[in-house]
C-alpha cells in the first residue's frame, strides 16, 4: 500500500465541509498509519483511544448479536469522532474528526469509500 493511496483516501474525507481531520489507525495496536489532522490535535493519543473504543464496541456488538460495527460515531458538545472500522479484528480504522454541524451522512459515505480504497 503506497503513501499515495493513503493520502488519496484521507483526501476523500477531509474535503467534506466541517471535517477537521482524518486518520488511518491500526486496529491492532492503535498506532497512526496516516493522518491529515488540524494542528493541535494529538493524533497518537486519539488513535490509541479510538482503537481501544473500537475494540470494546466490536466485542459488545458481537455479544449483542448485531454483528460487527460498520460505522460508529461519538458525538460531543463541540464536535464528533466518526469511524469506519476495517474488516476483521485488527483491520484499519478510518477516522474523521468533525465539527458539530457536519453532515454525518456525507462523512459516513466518504469514510466507507476511503475504507474501500485502503482495504
Amino acid at each position: 500500500m503506497t503513501a499515495d493511496v493513503f493520502r488519496q483516501a484521507l483526501d476523500l474525507i477531509t474535503r467534506v465541509r466541517g471535517v477537521r481531520g482524518a486518520m488511518l489507525v491500526s486496529g491492532d495496536d492503535g498506532l497512526v498509519v496516516a493522518e491529515q489532522l488540524m494542528e493541535g490535535i494529538k493524533g497518537t493519543a486519539v488513535a490509541a483511544l479510538t482503537a481501544s473504543l473500537a475494540g470494546r464496541l466490536r466485542r459488545a456488538m458481537d455479544a449483542a448479536g448485531v454483528g460487527s460495527s460498520v460505522f460508529w460515531h461519538l458525538q460531543a458538545e463541540q464536535g464528533a469522532l466518526l469511524v469506519v472500522p476495517g474488516i476483521g479484528e485488527g483491520g484499519l480504522l478510518v477516522v474523521a474528526v468533525a465539527e458539530p454541524d457536519v453532515n454525518i451522512g456525507l462523512v459516513r459515505l466518504e469514510l466507507l469509500r476511503a475504507a474501500e480504497a485502503v482495504g
Binding site: I41, L49, R56, G65, V66, G67, A76, E77, Q78, L81
Partner: protein
C-alpha cells in the same frame, strides 16, 4: 356509524386533499377498525404532514395498538406544530403518567388547562393524576380520549419508592429486550437485552461496555470537543446507541437495522430522560 363511514369515505374519495380524513379516521377508530383507521391516518399525514390534528389522530391509533413510543413521537410532533393542541397535550400527559412520571403528566395537563380552562375532562384528569389514580391501557377503550380513559383503573402506576429494576423503562418499547441501564462498573441497573435469536445477552454486553464512558470522555477531551453526549454504531444486523444519563451510569439501546441511527438517537434521548428520573428517585 356505518353510514358515517360510508359517507365520509365517499367524501374523501371525491376530494382526497380534504381534511375529512380526520373524521373518517376517528369514525373507524370508534368502530374498532384500527387498521383501516391507520391507513386513513397515514394517507392523510402524507398529504398534510404539518397538520397537528393528523399527528394527533395517528398518535391515538398508535396508542390504541399499544405502540406507545411511536404514539409519543406523534403527539410530540403535534405539540411542536401546535403548542396549544389539547389532544396532544392530554395524550402526552397520559403516556407520562403511564411510565410513572407524574410531574410531567401534571405539567402537560396544566398546559392543556391554560389553553382550555373550561374543559372539565382536563380538570378531572388533573385530579386523578394528583390522586395517583392508575391509568388503563388505551386499548381497553379504543374509542375514548386517552386522558378520559385514565379515570378507569387498570394498569399499575409506578410510584416513588416502590420501583424495581424491571420498571426502569416501563412503558418504553423494547424495555425488556433492547434497553439496558448500567452503572460505571458495568453492573446492570435495569432493562435487558436479547440477541436476535432470543438469548439473554444483558450481562455479556454490559461487561464489554464497562469503561466505554471513561474512554469516550478521554477521547473527546483530547480532541477538545467538550463532553460526549452519545455514541451511535451501525452493525451488520442491528444498530446501537450508548448514552450517559448521569456521570455514573450508561444507557444502551439496541434495535434491528430497520431503525436508523437518527431515530435510535431519539429513542435513546427518551430512554435517557426516563433513566435519569428513575435514578433520581432511587437516591
Amino acid at each position: 356509524m356505518a353510514d358515517d363511514v360510508r359517507a365520509l369515505s365517499a367524501e374523501l374519495a371525491q376530494d382526497p386533499q380534504s381534511l375529512v380524513f380526520l373524521r373518517l379516521g376517528e369514525a373507524l377508530r370508534r368502530k374498532g377498525q384500527l387498521d383501516a383507521a391507520l391507513r386513513v391516518a397515514v394517507n392523510g399525514l402524507e398529504r398534510h404532514p404539518h397538520l397537528a390534528d393528523a399527528h394527533d389522530l395517528y398518535a391515538r391509533l398508535l396508542a390504541d395498538k399499544h405502540e406507545y413510543e411511536r404514539a409519543f413521537d406523534e403527539w410530540d410532533m403535534a405539540v411542536r406544530i401546535a403548542p396549544n393542541h389539547i389532544g396532544a397535550l392530554k395524550g402526552l400527559a397520559f403516556l407520562y403518567f403511564k411510565v410513572g412520571d407524574v410531574a410531567q403528566a401534571e405539567a402537560h395537563l396544566e398546559a392543556a388547562r391554560r389553553y382550555e380552562p373550561d374543559d372539565p375532562t382536563i380538570a378531572q384528569a388533573l385530579v386523578m393524576v394528583r390522586g395517583g389514580a392508575r391509568p388503563p391501557s388505551p386499548t381497553t377503550a379504543p374509542a375514548l380520549e386517552p386522558v378520559a380513559t385514565a379515570a378507569a383503573p387498570a394498569a399499575p402506576a409506578p410510584t416513588a419508592g416502590v420501583l424495581d429494576e424491571s420498571q426502569v423503562f416501563a412503558g418504553l418499547e423494547g424495555a425488556l429486550e433492547g434497553l439496558v441501564l448500567l452503572d460505571a462498573a458495568g453492573m446492570v441497573l435495569g432493562g435487558a437485552l436479547r440477541s436476535p435469536a432470543g438469548a439473554d445477552v444483558t450481562d455479556a454486553v454490559a461487561a464489554y461496555l464497562a469503561g466505554v464512558s471513561q474512554e469516550a470522555a478521554r477521547t473527546v477531551k483530547l480532541l477538545g470537543l467538550g463532553v460526549w453526549v452519545g455514541l451511535s454504531a451501525e452493525g451488520q444486523h442491528g444498530n446501537v446507541h450508548v448514552a450517559q444519563p448521569t456521570k455514573d451510569a450508561l444507557l444502551l439501546v439496541v434495535r434491528d437495522r430497520g431503525v436508523p441511527l437518527g431515530r435510535l438517537a431519539i429513542l435513546a434521548q427518551r430512554a435517557t430522560a426516563t433513566a435519569r428520573r428513575w435514578l433520581e428517585r432511587q437516591r
